[in-house]
Symmetry: C2
């Protein structure tokens, strides 16, 4: 019997596909990495289905790649060695909402926006927002974060417990539903960010939060890149309770203005948001404005109504789309370094200089409250000369970040694209990571060619 016939027998024909369009959909994510078709796509509908697929894959020594919404940015879901793409989208039930525990239990295929819609009815929200409507299982697998991480943390900080199918077919629960635990080794933090290389996440208990009583958003324009970045790091250092503090470079704003018909001043800008009680948010905002003014802020405006706030954040969220729209036929690559806060102004200055030096088409946007920034680059992979300049640029940005105690990826994850930096960043601890991988997945069937694979 063929691979797909075997899987059809194990799962049922309705859960298995070799349709060309389906295979193509599972050959890539949203990054520039070279697509590769899986041999087959399966759509498990239960934990038992996942266990059955894993047991088959292990016995047959066939690679297995978990697939969420396909929104990753470093080729995480590309089946580089073929095999089975395990599409989790049918495991999309919100299993339990516990407002009194500030916790929710979801299957791995639930997407962020679906969860938000369900939580809203209970006056709750889940804070991790990577932009895309990713699945929670995928977000856990890359330790995703985003604009609100400066206040609420990344996925690792908001995952309480995971249910995982290991390569040997066993189903385990890791972590604890409690707010804290000192029992056993903390395996949940190991599976968060493991990119499907240690097992398939099937469900998650997540920490959720009451929706804040008051939210206020603000935009602050600065004369220079340095002033904007320094203002952001000072706000965090001074303990201003910002829930978001995002830096957007002028080239991005220019693109947004053209794409959306807005009229942002073409100066380095911080977009801010403060969450809290009514008197609390106004006090925090006043402090933020004082710090901004100390850095020569040109204009500081704030908005309160949800609709107006959403419009302001749309500018931030659509920045990438607008930027790329200027370059038809180009692919997108994003750097993702994160550095200690004090190193951020120099790291961003360095990136801007290198963009100019290498004539790379790029713009800088950043979760600057965390020391994390992206350089979004438009390029044509088929243009070898341009590609090599882009490649050179990416290396310089990472090398600079690592030299000051930074990391090659703050939130996108390693996937294919950041594998080359793992030895440089982690030194001998990379061997420990590989030893753990070999222990849990001795036959290397779990998303091979990613993360710590040589």
């Amino acid at each position: 019997m063929s691979l797909s016939e075997n899987l059809e027998q194990i799962l049922s024909p309705a859960k298995v596909s070799q349709n060309k369009t389906i295979l193509e959909q599972h050959s890539h994510d949203e990054s520039y990495h070279t697509p590769k078709m899986p041999d087959v796509v399966v759509f498990p509908e239960s934990v038992e289905d996942v266990v059955a697929v894993v047991n088959y894959a292990r016995a047959a020594k066939i690679p297995l790649v978990p697939f969420g919404a396909g929104t990753s940015l470093e080729g995480h879901v590309v089946p580089v060695r073929g095999g089975i793409s395990v599409d989790m989208s049918r495991m999309n039930r919100v299993l339990d909402i516990r407002p009194d525990d500030l916790a929710v239990h979801v299957q791995a295929g639930v997407t962020r926006l679906k969860l938000d819609a369900e939580l809203r009815r209970h006056g709750l929200f889940f804070p991790v927002d990577p932009g895309a409507d990713a699945t929670l299982g995928g977000m856990a697998s890359t330790n995703a974060s985003g604009t609100t991480t400066v206040r609420y943390g990344a996925m690792r900080d908001n995952v309480r417990q995971l249910e995982v199918v290991l390569a040997d077919g066993s189903l385990i629960r890791v972590g604890s539903r409690t707010a804290k635990s000192s029992s056993g080794y903390q395996l949940a933090s190991l599976f968060v960010g493991a990119e499907g290389t240690l097992g398939v996440i099937t469900s998650l208990w997540l920490r959720v939060y009451g929706r804040p009583e008051a939210i206020v958003a603000a935009a602050a324009q600065f004369p220079t890149l340095d002033a904007a970045v320094r203002a952001s790091t000072t706000m965090v250092g001074a303990g201003v309770g910002v829930a978001r503090v995002e830096f957007v470079e002028a080239p991005y704003l220019d693109a947004v203005n053209r794409f959306r018909g807005t009229s942002y001043s073409l100066t380095p800008t911080l977009f801010l948001e403060v969450h809290g009680s009514e008197p609390g948010v106004m006090a925090e905002l006043a402090l933020a404005e004082t710090i901004a003014n100390d850095e020569g802020c040109l204009a500081f405006s704030h908005v309160r109504e949800e609709e107006v706030r959403n419009r302001l954040w749309e500018a931030r969220h659509n920045a990438l789309l607008a930027f790329m729209a200027q370059y038809p036929g180009h692919r997108h690559m994003s750097t993702d370094v994160c550095v200690p806060l004090s190193e951020l102004p120099e790291a961003i200055r360095h990136a801007r200089n290198e963009l100019d030096n290498l004539s790379v088409k790029g713009a800088i946007i950043g979760h600057v409250g965390d020391g994390n920034f992206h350089v979004s680059i438009a390029f044509r992979p088929e243009d070898e000369e341009e590609s090599s300049r882009v490649e050179e640029f990416g290396q310089r940005v990472v090398t600079q970040a690592l030299s000051v105690g930074g990391t090659c990826t703050g939130e996108h994850g390693v996937g294919i694209g950041k594998r080359r930096y793992q030895a440089q960043e982690h030194g001998d601890s990379l061997y420990v990571m590989r030893a753990i991988k070999a222990t849990l997945d001795p036959f290397g069937i779990m998303n091979p060619g990613k993360l710590v694979d040589p």
Copy 2:
């Protein structure tokens, strides 16, 4: 040559001791567990010393037990199979304070109060406060937490990077100095809470915070245990920005009154603290008081000056001492379960009932904002009948907590005392923990007989 002669040659005689008093000091922690003398105590003064001791111990197949301040509560530092006690107290330098990064780099033997004194000069503080003046290496090893964890998290949340000597003698760095990272497997969270069973922590980069502009403490008295606990969980659920919310049962307050000459009403009481900006703290406090009144609060008072606040917290911190002072010749045992918030009232009620049913001398105190509470028990280990009732009590408390999604230890760690519950709590993931242990420490020299050891 003897064990100590070998170590003297490797390290120098001044760093090795077999003095009876020294051996005795390293035979126990602050718990009721049976002491056992190490064969020798070493006092490394550098990472190289630690590597040399580990290499010797591995070659000779001799157990190795890292020792901080000896303040652990589950026998973590007891060398149950003899061998070398590695006293880290001479590695006590604060290596680097970086206010702009909100980060500090310390050797593992630095104690909490020493760090606090150094940070205070920079307007900073490190929030994790387990009560005892433990070493930071020890606190990381047990994933310690305490009264402020409801706001600032446990050790795992505040460790950025660790330097660790593995059983094979290699020195690795795990984690990242940045606020977040998605690079590689998150090994820092694995070594935090590993209780020295995976390696010896030699230095730590920790997250620190600016000292709050305003701090206000409060005490709230309630008619019943249930009302007090419900008020605390409601405060957390409603997002009141409490930095501390501690429940203290009447028997504790009675002991404090007798021991310290105070005059606390003998009713279930919450001790609270709020940190923030001047207008912020008063708003949060008002919200806390409203919630307390909804639960029938009998009296709500707050204090602001540091000295008066300290006196209030002294009552909380001295509660255990005062409680034990009532029972001369008794040893102390503490339960440490943590449950989902909604389960806390029932878990505390259950514990109180079982104390009464089994005629165990105990009182309840809790970090109730995290769902974590302790029953402090006074007993005489030489009284077999009493010991078996205490044992029975501990098991009932843990079994109840596990049955509602709780953990057997919220902050003390597993050590010797909670080993028996690991299979029940973790199921098959215990085998994964053991596989990781076997991979990193194949000869079992690292603090054997603890945590995941069968």
